[in-house]
Subunit: 321 residues, 2 copies
């Protein structure tokens, strides 16, 4: 009798694919799921939203800081957040996974659990993918969505709009700082959890009251300053952020312990996958949204009317990595 | 005046993205292209085909054997072939690129040229993507297509059908053997070119005469034996391959030089991205297609009525890589 396979090499490519798909029910919009040359997805609106993001070991996650389940869930969450930020409903995902042949089967099991758990939370299923060998772990996710409304672009913000956020800002950066400083993660469980597994507040977009006007929207993946900077540039406007509204008092204890500025985390920290949107000034803010700034004539992003002199957010090729 | 950036690090993430998209016109089915949280693609048939494949440096290509342009084109070609093998027309692609920060800007320029050239050849455009830092080069492509007919699955082959192929078999494997043996590539330019840059014969599927019945179809990416094995298994049939029809006399000289079996290359070599399809026995073969076997009752794939004892094709986690 064959021994139970312990590694991806022992399981083999097709055994691995079968294991990844075993017992998984596809969403109703997946017409043809895994197992053929390609999947077929329904597009009832006659168009679909697409985004893709790649996570690289030791660049976007560390195996000693995140569980396999966290890594899988995070890979899906950051893609689903982009779909939702376009005003669309996530429908399906495809995932390419590269890993060393000696990767434990249990590791892949955990990763797949995380992929599926977050896909379900976002409203979709994993409709296909690819598995390949590589010297390090790489997870590449492409996410699809059905537009619920005309696409909400970054380019529609207008002077007089208010800027509001749904979700937390700076928690992931605070958690990363705790882990980087070698502090006990158990002493700061909430921010460490926020770093390991972002929870985009999909429902705050999904539940926008019918008729709500959203002039621009984005997810906050590179940091509030960077991402609202893209909105300002695309829309040809200026945005002023209110530091008292952006600063999160919940981060004060951990910031004091690390002698850090919690406002910098909330302004420049990426990966929280909150949503930032601009709404016409006269319109009541929808549930779950908090005003953090105003849109004016001009260019660029300021904080309390002044230029920000601290760090400005994530850049893929910075940091020597 | 700033010096011209020479590396990806000097150019920066957003400079790189701008450079990748500069002057590129999107296809008519791309409603919203690069530059927002997500792209929006038209799906006039109300459904779309999706496939994804990841290429890893030193596993799927070598920088000393392939030009950046070849690598980009190959990444798109193998995905486009999967779309076409479903009976769909390629419409758009998204590409995630991971590379070391010291990658030369000219290298990425070449890669992007290749991505776009093959996307155009297949009938689509590059609608978005992601760029990240990693210690080695990884290209992950997701391809989309519009179904021209009901999806042609691997599961529809029936006893009495004939198996036919469009495109070349074993040329890529022969080219890889030439490069692996350290022979002068210039002495065997055609097979080396076939390895560096597969040319799926999209037109042989696209130009199938109206009314042609195709019971099953796949692209040959893992080798004819392996891929027709998937058809046999999915369809619950047996397939017998005709060795005299599969063997390509054009490979004889290079096989003799390497003391290799050209039939093994044509049976087990992957990456040619030919198309294999089954057609009802009484139907004339469409232009560009050559009969290479027959579908019968039973299970498994045989060669000339006998089990094949040579290599059986590509497996992602084999070979210690």
């Amino acid at each position: 009798m064959a021994e139970t396979p312990r590694t991806v090499r022992e399981l083999g490519e097709f055994g691995l694919i079968a294991r990844m798909n075993a017992g998984r029910a596809q969403g109703s919009n997946v017409v043809v799921g895994p197992g053929d040359d390609a999947a077929v997805i329904a597009a009832p609106a006659g168009r679909y939203v697409v985004t893709t993001d790649m996570l690289v070991q030791d660049r976007h996650f560390r195996l000693d800081w995140s569980s396999p389940r966290d890594i899988g869930a995070k890979a899906v969450a950051q893609n689903a957040a982009d779909v939702v930020a376009m005003g669309a409903e996530p429908s399906a995902f495809v995932v390419s996974l590269a890993c060393p042949p000696d990767t434990a089967v249990e590791f892949v099991d955990g990763l797949v659990e995380g992929l599926w758990a977050e896909a379900r939370r976002a409203g979709g299923s994993i409709a296909g993918g690819d598995v390949v060998s590589a010297p390090l772990l790489i997870v590449s996710v492409t996410a699809f969505g059905d537009p619920l409304r005309p696409p909400v672009l970054r380019s529609g913000a207008q002077p007089g709009d208010i800027l509001a956020v749904a979700g937390r800002l700076g928690w992931s950066a605070a958690g990363l700082a705790v882990l980087s400083a070698g502090l006990d993660p158990a002493a700061y469980p909430e921010v460490v959890a926020a770093h390991r597994l972002p929870r985009p507040p999909y429902e705050s977009v999904r539940n926008l009251p019918r008729g709500t006007v959203v002039t621009a929207m984005t997810d906050v993946s590179d940091g509030l300053l960077a991402d609202t900077g893209h909105v300002a540039e695309s829309s040809g406007v200026a945005i002023d952020l209110d530091p008292d509204a952006v600063r999160d008092p919940a981060l004060t204890p951990v910031a004091e312990r690390l002698d850090a500025d919690p406002l910098a985390w909330s302004l420049a920290g990426g990966e929280d996958h909150a949503f930032a949107a601009t709404f016409p000034g006269g319109q009541p803010l929808p549930p779950g949204w908090t005003q953090v700034g105003r849109v004016t004539d001009g260019t660029g992003v300021t904080v309390g009317g002044r230029a920000w002199s601290g760090p400005v957010g994530w850049e893929s090729f910075a940091g020597g990595g």
